[in-house]
């Protein structure tokens, strides 16, 4: 048994566009929260502000990689004849 309350896929979380956070119900009645920024930084633990419980978020890091940080791949440059 892991020390997490559960492992949840990002698709099962609700996205709050205004606050840029993903949330999932916590058994205490509050919500597990992880921000878009935390996901972009590779964090995968959503925390509940009212509880000791933790939620592990399963997601594809590539989907959240911050675009600004992506190196420009020269090989994709189009060669103009």
């Amino acid at each position: 048994m892991s020390s997490y309350y559960d492992e949840i896929e990002i698709e099962d979380m609700e996205f709050d566009e205004e606050n840029e956070i993903y949330t999932y119900p916590c058994p205490c009645g509050d919500r597990f929260v992880i921000s878009l920024e935390e996901l972009q930084n590779g964090d995968d633990i959503a925390k509940c502000p009212s509880c000791s419980l933790l939620l592990k978020v399963v997601y594809d890091a590539d989907d959240f990689a911050a675009e600004d940080d992506e190196p420009i791949e020269l090989s994709t440059a189009i060669t103009v004849a």
Binding site: M1, D12, E14, P25, P27, C28, G29, C51, S52, L53
Partner: protein, 299 residues
């Protein structure tokens, strides 16, 4: 205004609520992000949460007698013993095989096809529990990661429903988020010797939900709890509250917030008497209730 003269039952999901009036009609309010309101036309992204009560469209002639809500799905039992469901079905919690591309069922669907007439319904976080009118046959569907779908000996019957038998008649079916609990009739001859108490539990037990310490955090078998004279029982997300005929209250399970009645905040793995009605005949508990992480006793 809701027609009829009174509301006979209220059921709450995570952010939706259902009402059942005395005419057997179901009304819904709240968020419909996962189709849990059963009302077509609510945007799938939940951008417009319904502001007032709206009747959930039902098959012509249906008269409902019970309602239940998981965090994101809903069930309604009609007077003929048929069960209708709507909302999230990603785990097959509505008894219907999930469609990966559109996992939500946005309007009432008959979900008890292939099952005998049903008497009781209950919903967990991502599973559903039904008890047939014989009061012995249980059907469970949905997530089974924590053995929510019952003992390892249960078998598939129809849709995503699995089934198993109870040793005595069920009085009431309840569900926590990741476990099931059914109140049985009083023990008959020999039951006590065989350890068959009056509450049967299965599923997740890492926080004491099944009133015993379990390996790997879940009980993939039926567990029995013997608290004499239990006449009512309710489940929070991860704890249980039981009322006895003499007005006592017992609790067990998750207690991080003191929600299972123990001020030391330790989880409770053996039913704890939090109110002694026998010793306080003038202050008996008469009713119990709970939210996800809290409990109520009316004395």
């Amino acid at each position: 205004m809701i027609p009829g003269s009174y509301v006979q039952q209220v059921a709450c999901g995570w952010n939706h609520t259902l009402l059942l009036n005395d005419l057997g009609q179901v009304y819904a309010a709240g968020s419909g992000t996962f189709g849990q309101l059963g009302i077509a036309g609510v945007p799938a992204d939940g951008s417009i949460a319904l502001g007032g009560w709206t009747q959930v469209p039902a098959p012509v002639g249906s008269v409902f007698v019970r309602i239940a809500c998981g965090i994101r799905h809903s069930l309604a039992l009609d007077q003929d013993g048929l069960v209708y469901g709507w909302g999230a079905n990603r785990c097959g919690q509505l008894g219907i095989p999930p469609d990966k591309r559109s996992p939500n069922i946005p309007t009432m669907a008959l979900v008890s096809q292939g099952l005998p007439p049903i008497a009781m319904i209950a919903c967990g976080r991502s599973h559903s529990i039904l008890v047939a009118q014989d009061r012995r046959t249980v059907f469970v569907a949905g997530q089974d990661k924590y053995a929510q779908c019952g003992p390892a000996t249960s078998h598939m019957v129809a849709g995503t429903w699995r089934t198993f038998q109870l040793p005595r008649d069920a009085i009431k079916a309840c569900s926590g988020w990741d476990f099931g609990a059914i109140l049985l009739g009083e023990p008959t001859d020999g039951d006590e010797e065989r350890g068959i108490g009056n509450v049967v539990v299965w599923g997740r037990g890492d926080h004491g939900q099944v009133a015993q310490r379990v390996e790997n955090g879940c009980l993939r078998d039926l567990g029995y709890i013997a608290v004499a004279g239990v006449c009512d029982m309710v489940c929070g997300s991860s704890h249980v509250v039981a009322l006895t005929q003499d007005g006592s209250v017992y609790m067990w399970g998750w207690n991080e917030h003191g929600n299972a009645g123990n001020p030391n905040l330790e989880n409770i793995f053996t039913p704890l008497c939090v109110h002694d009605g026998h010793g306080n005949p003038d202050n008996r508990a008469v009713s119990i209730g709970c939210g996800y992480g809290n409990s109520y006793v009316v004395s």
